[in-house]
């Protein structure tokens, strides 16, 4: 395997360059009247960087070039003349041949693939070693260049620091690249979707019956109306879950900040935080295994006959519990940000603690609490596993919490893990749903962060 070989060679050369430059610079006589510009170690590292970085860059670039070269070599092979002319069949045979070249036990139905496989393996190994050789040459050249720069008076340390700064800058741009990548991929795939289905049908249609096998030429808009999904997401994430999370989260925050002794607080708060650390798949399993049957039995007992094992209520309740610590810590922060003087003033007027909380602290902390709830909602509507396991797949435009309901995240997961082809509008609709979800959560987050910021400033 050339990759291991390249890594060992290049790193070995780097160590050699480091040792040689270090040894060479150790004997530099101090230049009269000048400060010492770098320590021997700096010269060593400088030469090592010149050895390793260009070589690895060459090796990395080669991984992009070599598949094309291998492909070209294969098509020039005499056995390739027997390849079918049609693109699709040709690709299938070639894929089989490549798989066979990787792994001799792989299944290949086509005899041409079996003939081609040795040629592919040979070409891959040939171009692989060619890349390895190029990379080692780059290491030698870079190392030699770096070594020649090792002279008394050469500011190796400043140069290294410049490289370090470049690396820091590069690392911080990864965040921007990720954001741009998310937006670009969502918009690109959504554009493909909207070229097949009208945005109006998608955003305002009320019938969601995705069928990845339906012929793509027929009018898909009638089956891909996302309103039931938006409703299900809103109902589960912003209504049911918040009905649990807001009162429980707020009351626990009030108890922890206003009533609990510091000792009790130091035990209770981390325990509450455990709820936030439990993976969502565990909540989902609990919702499906325990909560949902319980809720169905309850519904049956009060006379709702059409209650199902999967229900919006089960998913929403469990999701609400998951969000409690989040709401609690946001409310905790906002209440703590209210100036002590306001609390003292109220208590001095003779109000009880609970009156102070209800009449002074909560109104004063309200903007922060509202922002916290918005962040909680954005978290709840982006949650996937609980609804995937407990809320069901059928798109229902209903306000009955005992019914099955589906959400945006459920459909994204279901559409993309299904068997549908990646060019089919039904599959692509997942990206359009993702775009809507991204925009909504983004708006919620931005507005909430603004509110929090303004609220903090008001009391500073």
């Amino acid at each position: 395997m050339p990759i291991t070989f390249v890594l060992i060679c290049v790193l070995g050369l780097g160590v050699i360059a480091w040792a040689m430059s270090r040894a060479r610079s150790a004997h530099f006589a101090p230049v009269a009247g000048k400060l010492k510009l770098a320590l021997p170690g700096h010269y060593g590292i400088y030469a090592a960087i010149w050895t390793v970085v260009p070589a690895l860059l060459v090796a990395w670039l080669w991984t992009f070039i070599s598949p094309g070269l291998v492909h070209g070599a294969i098509l020039a092979d005499p056995a390739a003349a027997a390849l079918p002319a049609f693109d699709f069949e040709r690709d299938t045979v070639l894929n089989e041949a490549f798989a066979l070249a990787q792994n001799p036990d792989a299944f290949a139905s086509n005899p041409i693939a079996q003939q081609l496989a040795p040629a592919i393996a040979a070409a891959q190994s040939k171009f692989g070693w060619m890349g390895a050789a190029l990379s080692v040459i780059a290491a030698l050249a870079g190392g030699a260049f770096g070594y020649t720069r090792v002279k008394a008076g050469f500011p190796a340390r400043t140069r290294i620091e410049r490289i370090v700064l470049g690396a820091l800058l590069l690392a911080s741009f990864v965040a921007i690249v990720t954001t741009v990548g998310i937006i670009a991929s969502l918009i690109f795939e959504s554009a493909r979707f909207f070229s097949m289905v009208s945005p109006i049908d998608f955003l305002f249609g009320t019938n969601w019956t995705p069928d990845t096998m339906a012929s793509a030429t027929s009018d898909m808009g009638d089956d891909l109306g996302a309103v039931p999904l938006f409703w299900g997401t809103f109902f589960i994430g912003a209504v049911i879950a918040m009905l649990v999370a807001i009162p429980f989260g707020l009351m626990s925050a009030i108890y922890l900040t206003q009533y609990a002794s510091p000792r009790a607080r130091s035990i209770l708060k981390p325990m509450l935080e455990i709820l936030a650390g439990i993976p969502t798949v565990v909540y989902g399993y609990f919702a499906a295994l325990t909560a949902a049957p319980l809720i169905r039995d309850l519904a049956m007992a009060v006379g709702i006959t059409n209650a199902s094992t999967e229900s919006a209520l089960a998913a929403g309740l469990v999701m609400g519990v998951m969000i409690i610590p989040f709401v609690s810590s946001m409310a905790d922060d906002s209440i703590a940000a209210v100036p002590q003087a306001m609390r003292d003033g109220s208590l001095a007027m003779g109000a009880t603690t609970s009156e102070t909380i209800k009449k002074v602290l909560i109104p004063a902390a309200l903007p922060g609490i509202v922002a916290g709830v918005m962040l909680a909602i954005s978290r709840a509507i982006g949650e996937t596993m609980i609804v995937y396991m407990a809320a069901g797949a059928s798109a229902n435009l209903s306000a009955n919490p005992f019914e099955r309901m589906t959400t945006v995240t459920y459909q994204i997961a279901a559409l993309l893990t299904g068997e549908g082809s990646f060019d089919h509008p039904t599959t692509l609709s997942a990206f359009a749903l993702g775009l809507v979800l991204f925009i909504v959560t983004l708006i919620l987050n931005i507005v909430a962060l603004r509110v929090v910021k303004r609220f903090r400033e008001a009391y500073e």
Binding site: Y255, L256, T384, M385, T409, L449
Partner: protein
Amino acid sequence: MSNWQSPEASARLKKRYAAERRFKALGLVAIVLSMSFLAVLLFTMLKNGISGLDWAFLSGSDSTDPANAGVWSAVKGSILTMLVTLALAFPMGVLAAIYLEEFAPRSRWVDWVEVSINNLAAVPSIIFGLLGLAVFIQVMHLPRSSPLVGGMTLALMTMPVIVIAGRNAIKAVPPSIRDAALAVGASKVQTVFHHVLPLALPGILTGTIIGMARALGETAPLLMIGMRAFVSTPPGGVTDPSSVLPMQIFLWSDEVDQGFVQNTSAAIIVLLFVLIAMNGIAIYLRNKFETRW
């Protein structure tokens, strides 16, 4: 003129004190109910799963027969995925945090970086899965359902967490440390890497462990990049098809066979045990190395 000792006044006072007690009790009830939910959840998993937790389960691989199925292949997949995530997210996160906290000039670019980091930390995880699917698999043609792609996707998700924790840790190092280093002639880079970073490291590590624990429990983005394959042999490397522990829980929870209820719960116990251990280490690190300046 009102008299605070009149019967009406003391009745009113009694009512107010009763309201006070009710309110306090309500707060306690909210916490106790949340805790009891946690207790019921843990108890259910222990009751269903503890008897299935033996060496054969811990060392076995996935199987269609619940009696033979084990978690090792999924655990190994999780380990490989986390290694990829750590190798990418930790250096990038720390370097980005250093840049933003110590070197960044006030410019529009830097503002954009800050805004995107804060927003990325709040983007739903499934969106990262869509990104991984569209970029790593559709464009770059990396192997589907491999720990490599899973780890890269989770790294993008974990990086903002590390950056935010890292910035707070670096911010907490007092300026006098920097001034002292600069005063004896260290360069800015030397100051940061020799003095500020070692002091901030416990805080950064705590944030990293918490971010990694979150990534370890994540299922939705991995679902998107196809890590739901039936994997009966442990993956040999980061490019082999593989499963991860949360995904194994999800897959088993879908099985009709009753035997898988025990397996699912046992796998959940394993996952929660690892997560609690990780969080315990994070808390220990924070308490042990936290310096109050």
